[in-house]
């Protein structure tokens, strides 16, 4: 009965894309845990960054009554901690980059597989007409002028961002807030991809 319901839905392929994305996210995080997160180097770097970030926040709390001489030495200390934080963040990025190649390969293979399965076929319907910039991805490989047709690439992109970011957050694998690069649009940790 469930297979009949599944096959009767016009856009049932979207569920396949989501299902594969979920499995891929779990596999990628498992690989990342094996190669990155459980190592002592990663734990030590993360701890250093967390401590330096918190120390920096405390030091940046300014006291208006502080004498000029004390302020100058405090500024120097802040600069030292900031440099140390940047260096640790850079080391963390380099460390993850070296180990992230395997995960990148998995993602490449999965995307290739999905592409071969769903190329030229809309897998979902978008309930609005996306802006021109987004259409390049949302209508990628599709024929026709209906810009509300959703390509596999766009759906996979949405799955990747939402599922992997939240999975990393849930498992505690998100990059530390004090690390460089955690800006306005925090993506799933790219170095573990």
């Amino acid at each position: 009965m469930s297979s009949t319901l599944f096959s009767s839905m016009k856009y049932s392929d979207s569920l396949t894309v989501v299902g594969i994305s979920i499995c891929t996210a779990i596999v990628c995080e498992a690989i990342s845990w094996l190669l990155i997160y459980r190592t002592s180097s990663y734990k030590s770097l993360k701890s250093t960054i967390d401590k330096a970030s918190k120390k920096l926040e405390t030091m940046k709390t300014t006291d208006p009554s502080t004498a000029t001489l004390v302020k100058k030495s405090k500024t120097k200390k802040i600069d030292r901690v900031e440099s140390s934080l940047k260096e640790s963040s850079r080391d963390l990025s380099m460390f993850k980059f070296k180990s992230g190649g395997v995960v990148a390969l998995v993602l490449f293979v999965v995307f290739g597989l999905l592409n071969s399965l769903f190329e030229g076929k809309p897998v979902a319907k978008i309930p609005f007409v996306p802006i021109k910039l987004v259409q390049k991805m949302s209508h990628r490989g599709l024929s026709g002028d209906d810009m509300t047709d959703c390509s596999m690439a766009f759906l996979y992109f949405l799955c990747s961002i939402s599922i992997r970011t939240n999975l990393q957050k849930f498992l505690g694998f998100s990059p530390p807030r004090g690390a460089a690069g955690a800006g306005l649009f925090p993506m799933p940790d790219p170095k573990s991809n």
């Binding site: 839905m9 016009k10 856009y11 049932s12 979207s14 569920l15 989501v18 918190k54 926040e57 405390t58 709390t61 979902a124 319907k125 978008i126 309930p127 609005f128 007409v129 959703c150 759906l155 949405l158 799955c159 961002i161 939402s162 970011t165 939240n166 957050k169 807030r177 306005l184 649009f185 925090p186 993506m187």
Partner: protein, 131 residues
């Protein structure tokens, strides 16, 4: 006049040091609505993140089921979720945003992931339920 509450980082660090077992105090649900609770930056960031994700999922499912069609509903979601987050930390928790990096830092917590999740839920429900 809005009451502002500043977070005492030094006091929190002292409390952590005094803890015999070296563990943090258990995070209580009541703290989510307690304007007198003190917040760690990471804790607050995580709470705001998950509130945004829950809102995104709820709105996506709802928008897709009705269905609501048109780009205006996307903008409405962004405004609504930002408004809820702002209302939560400013009016319920009465947080001093300067202690946490300003309104920008608080409002962008989980924003990108929540927009993606909202779009994913909206598109999926709309496609599966109405075609």
């Amino acid at each position: 006049m809005r009451e502002r509450k500043s977070v005492k980082f030094n006091l929190q660090q002292q409390q952590q040091q005094e803890d015999q077992n070296g563990h943090l105090s258990p995070f209580k649900l009541a703290k989510l609505f307690d304007p007198d609770a003190s917040w760690d930056k990471d804790q607050l960031g995580d709470v705001l993140h998950w509130i945004r994700q829950a809102l995104a999922l709820l709105c996506g499912l709802l928008w897709g089921a009705i269905p609501l069609v048109g780009g205006i509903w996307f903008l409405l979601f962004v405004v609504l979720s930002s408004g809820v987050i702002y209302g939560y930390y400013a009016l319920i928790l009465k947080i001093d945003e300067e202690e946490f990096g300003g309104h920008g830092a608080l409002l962008q917590e989980g924003l990108f992931a929540s927009v993606s999740l909202f779009l994913l839920a909206w598109i999926l429900v709309y496609s599966l339920a109405h075609f």
